[in-house]
C-alpha cells in the first residue's frame, strides 16, 4: 500500500475543551487508485487531508494515530524531511483556485517554484518545464500564458495551473480537496477528466475529497464516507452505490434529486456540532433505524455481511450489521 492512515485523531483545543475534528480515522490508499473521501462540511475530511501533510494549524493538533507513506511514518518525520516530501511526493490541490495562487507572481514563477524548491530544475530549465506542464494540463497557448498573472486566467484555467503545480515534481500521491466545487459544471467535468487522465498517465494515486456523489461515481475506485469526524462506511465504489450499509450513506444517496417530482427523502435534523456530539454513534439522533445499542458507544467496524473487520472490503460502523445486537 502507498498510504496507510490508522487511528488518526486530530483535535482542536478550543476554550470549551478539545474538540475532535478527526476521530480515529483509518484508511488505505493503494498505488494507482482513487479513494474518495465523502462528507458534508464539518465532517473532518479537509482536516484529515491537512493532517496527512502535517499542515494543521493551532489550535488544531494531531493527537494520535499513524500515517505511513511508502513505509515511513509521517507523523514522526523530522520537519525538514517532511518539507522535502510535501509537494514532491505528496501534493495538495486546494478547493479555491481564486485564492490558492499568489496574485503577484506569474503562473510560470509559481510552477517553477515547486521545481526549484525541490531541486528538480535550475532556474533556466524551470520555465521550459512550466510551459511543458501547462501544455500537459491543456492550457491554450502555454508559451504566452506562462507569463500571465492569476487574475488573467479563468477559474477553470487557474485550477489547471494548480494541477500543473501539483504534478510538477511527479508525486506518487495527489490529495485534491474539493477541486471542482467552485467551478461551473462544464468546467468541473473537464477538470475531473484531466485529473483522471493525469492519474492514469503518471500512475499516481488520488485522494479526492468531495461532497458530491456524482463526482464520486465518476472518479472513485473506493469510497470512504465521513460523518462528524469518523469514517462510517468504506468500500469499493460499486458496492457503496449498490448496497450502502450505513443509514447515513443510504440517506445521502436517497436525498439526491432524481427524475420524479416526488418529495425528496431528506435526512432529518442537522449535522451535529463537533463539540457536543451525541453519545454512541454520532448519527443516531438523525437515524431512522436507531435502536438500543446506538446510544451506548461508537459502533465498531463491521463487514457488510456482518462479521468482524476485513482489511479491504466493504465495511460500515453501524450496529445494524451486528447480528448479535439485533
Amino acid at each position: 500500500m502507498l498510504l496507510e492512515v490508522s487511528h488518526l485523531t486530530t483535535v482542536f483545543d478550543l476554550p470549551g475543551g478539545p474538540v475532535p475534528a478527526v476521530d480515529e480515522v483509518s484508511f488505505v490508499v493503494e498505488p494507482g487508485e482513487t479513494l474518495c473521501l465523502v462528507g458534508e462540511s464539518g465532517s473532518g475530511k479537509s482536516v484529515t487531508a491537512l493532517s496527512i501533510l502535517r499542515l494543521v494549524q493551532p489550535p488544531g493538533r494531531i493527537a494520535g494515530g499513524r500515517v505511513r507513506f511508502k513505509g515511513r511514518d509521517l507523523l514522526t518525520l523530522a520537519e525538514p524531511d517532511m518539507r522535502a516530501l510535501r509537494g514532491a511526493e505528496i501534493s495538495l490541490i486546494f478547493q479555491e483556485p481564486m485564492t490558492a495562487l499568489n496574485p503577484v507572481f506569474t503562473v510560470g514563477d509559481q510552477i517553477g517554484e515547486a521545481l526549484l524548491v525541490h531541486g528538480r530544475a535550475t532556474r533556466h530549465e524551470a520555465r521550459a518545464r512550466a510551459i511543458e506542464l501547462l501544455t500537459a494540463v491543456r492550457i491554450p497557448d502555454p508559451a504566452a500564458r506562462v507569463d500571465d498573472y492569476p487574475h488573467q486566467l479563468s477559474g477553470g484555467q487557474r485550477q489547471r495551473v494548480l494541477i500543473a503545480i501539483a504534478l510538477a515534481c511527479k508525486p506518487s500521491l495527489v490529495i485534491a480537496d474539493e477541486p471542482t466545487t467552485a467551478l461551473d459544471v462544464t468546467i468541473q467535468a473537464e477538470i475531473l477528466d484531466l485529473l483522471r487522465e493525469m492519474k492514469n498517465a503518471l500512475g499516481l494515486s488520488l485522494l479526492l475529497i468531495t461532497h458530491d456523489f456524482g463526482v464520486v461515481a465518476e472518479t472513485a475506485d473506493r469510497v470512504a464516507v465521513m460523518y462528524a469526524g469518523r469514517i462510517v462506511e468504506t468500500g469499493p465504489v460499486r458496492a457503496i452505490f449498490a448496497s450502502p450499509q450505513h443509514p447515513y450513506t443510504r440517506g445521502l444517496l436517497a436525498s439526491m434529486p432524481g427524475l420524479s417530482r416526488t418529495r425528496l427523502k431528506a435526512i432529518e435534523g442537522t449535522v451535529p456540532m463537533l463539540g457536543s456530539l451525541p453519545p454512541g454513534c454520532a448519527f443516531n439522533p438523525r437515524c431512522p433505524d436507531r435502536f438500543a445499542p446506538c446510544t451506548t458507544a461508537p459502533p465498531p467496524e463491521y463487514t457488510a455481511s456482518g462479521a468482524t473487520t476485513a482489511p479491504s472490503g466493504h465495511t460500515a460502523r453501524c450496529y445494524l450489521l451486528d447480528h448479535a445486537a439485533r
Partner: protein
C-alpha cells in the same frame, strides 16, 4: 395571462474605466424574454457570468435594467415610480443564495422576519408578533428560537429564516437565487421539500435560479438556459433533458456527474464555433425553443 412576463430585458454594465478612461461594456443580460405562469416553477440555469442572477434581480429592480419590460400581473414594473414599486415589492420577493451573509448578524430572528411588516406598516405590534410566530411555524422553525441571533442557527435554519422573511408579506412570486447551493447535502433536500410544500400551500410562483441541473430537473416545470447573457434554449423540463437542441445545453447536460458508477459517460465538449450567436429562439417542438 402569465403572472410575470419579461420582454427584451437588457442590462449593460460598464467594467473598469475611470477618470479619462473608458471602460468596456458588458452585456450581462442581452435581450432576454420569457413568461412565467401562475403556480409554475421556472428555472434559469447557466454558468457563472451567464446573467441568470442579474436577470432575477432586474425583475425586482434590485438592479435597474438598462431597457426592456417586466410585466407583473399585467403592469410594467420598470415604469413604476418609487412608491408604487415599494407596494409592488410586497408581492414579489427574493430569497438569496448565502444564508450566512444575507441575514443581519446583529438582529434577532424575530426582528429579521418582522422587518418587512414594519417597513410596510402592516398591523400593530401584537398582530406582527402573531404573524412572525405563524411564519416560523410555516417554514418549520421552532418558535422557541425567535429571540436567537442568526449565528445560533445552522445553515438550513438560516435559509428558513430568509424564506420566512420573504413570505412575511404574502407574496405571490418569489425569486429563489440558488437557495440551497450553500447548504449541506443532507439539508438541501429538507429545504427543497419545504419550497415545494409552500408552493402548493400558498399558491406561489417561483423563478428558480440555479446551477445544479439535477435539482432543476426535480423542481422546475420549465427551464431557460442562459449563455453569455442570452437565453439559448427554453423548454418544459422533460423535453429539455430528453432532447436538448442547443450545443451549449448539450454540453451542459452531458457534464452533470451521474451518481452511478456504471453510467455511460458521453461527455460532449462545447465547441464555441458550433454556436451561432446570431440565431434567434425558434420553436422546435411544442413549447420547446432553441437558438439554433
Amino acid at each position: 395571462m402569465p403572472l410575470v412576463e419579461v420582454s427584451h430585458l437588457v442590462k449593460h454594465f460598464v467594467r473598469g474605466g475611470g477618470f479619462l478612461r473608458k471602460g468596456t461594456l458588458v452585456r450581462a443580460v442581452d435581450d432576454v424574454s420569457f413568461a412565467i405562469d401562475e403556480g409554475e416553477t421556472f428555472g434559469l440555469v447557466g454558468e457563472s457570468g451567464s446573467g441568470k442572477t442579474t436577470t432575477g434581480r432586474c425583475m425586482l429592480r434590485l438592479i435597474e435594467p438598462t431597457s426592456g419590460s417586466v410585466r407583473f400581473k399585467g403592469e410594467d414594473v420598470l415604469t413604476f415610480p418609487r412608491q408604487r414599486l415599494r407596494q409592488a415589492r410586497r408581492d414579489m420577493q427574493i430569497v438569496f443564495q448565502d444564508p450566512y451573509s444575507s441575514l443581519n448578524p446583529r438582529m434577532r430572528a424575530r426582528t429579521i422576519v418582522e422587518e418587512p411588516l414594519v417597513i410596510h406598516k402592516l398591523g400593530d405590534a401584537r398582530a406582527r408578533r402573531d404573524r412572525v410566530a405563524e411564519l416560523f411555524g410555516l417554514v418549520g422553525l421552532d418558535p422557541a428560537h425567535l429571540e436567537r441571533y442568526p449565528h445560533q442557527f445552522s445553515g438550513g435554519q438560516r435559509q428558513r429564516i430568509g424564506l420566512a422573511r420573504a413570505l412575511a408579506l404574502n407574496p405571490s412570486f418569489l425569486v429563489l437565487d440558488e437557495p440551497v447551493s450553500a447548504l449541506d447535502v443532507s439539508v438541501q433536500a429538507q429545504v427543497v421539500n419545504l419550497l415545494m410544500d409552500l408552493q402548493q400551500q400558498l399558491k406561489l410562483t417561483y423563478l428558480f435560479v440555479a446551477h445544479d441541473l439535477r435539482l432543476v430537473e426535480h423542481i422546475c416545470n420549465r427551464v431557460a438556459v442562459m449563455y453569455l447573457g442570452k437565453i439559448v434554449e427554453m423548454a418544459p423540463v422533460g423535453s429539455l433533458f430528453a432532447s436538448p437542441q442547443h450545443p451549449y445545453t448539450r454540453a451542459l447536460l452531458s457534464a452533470i456527474p451521474v451518481p452511478d458508477p456504471d453510467a455511460p459517460r458521453n461527455r460532449i465538449v462545447l465547441d464555441p464555433a458550433s454556436i451561432n450567436r446570431e440565431a434567434n429562439l425558434r420553436e422546435i417542438s411544442s413549447g420547446h425553443f432553441a437558438a439554433v
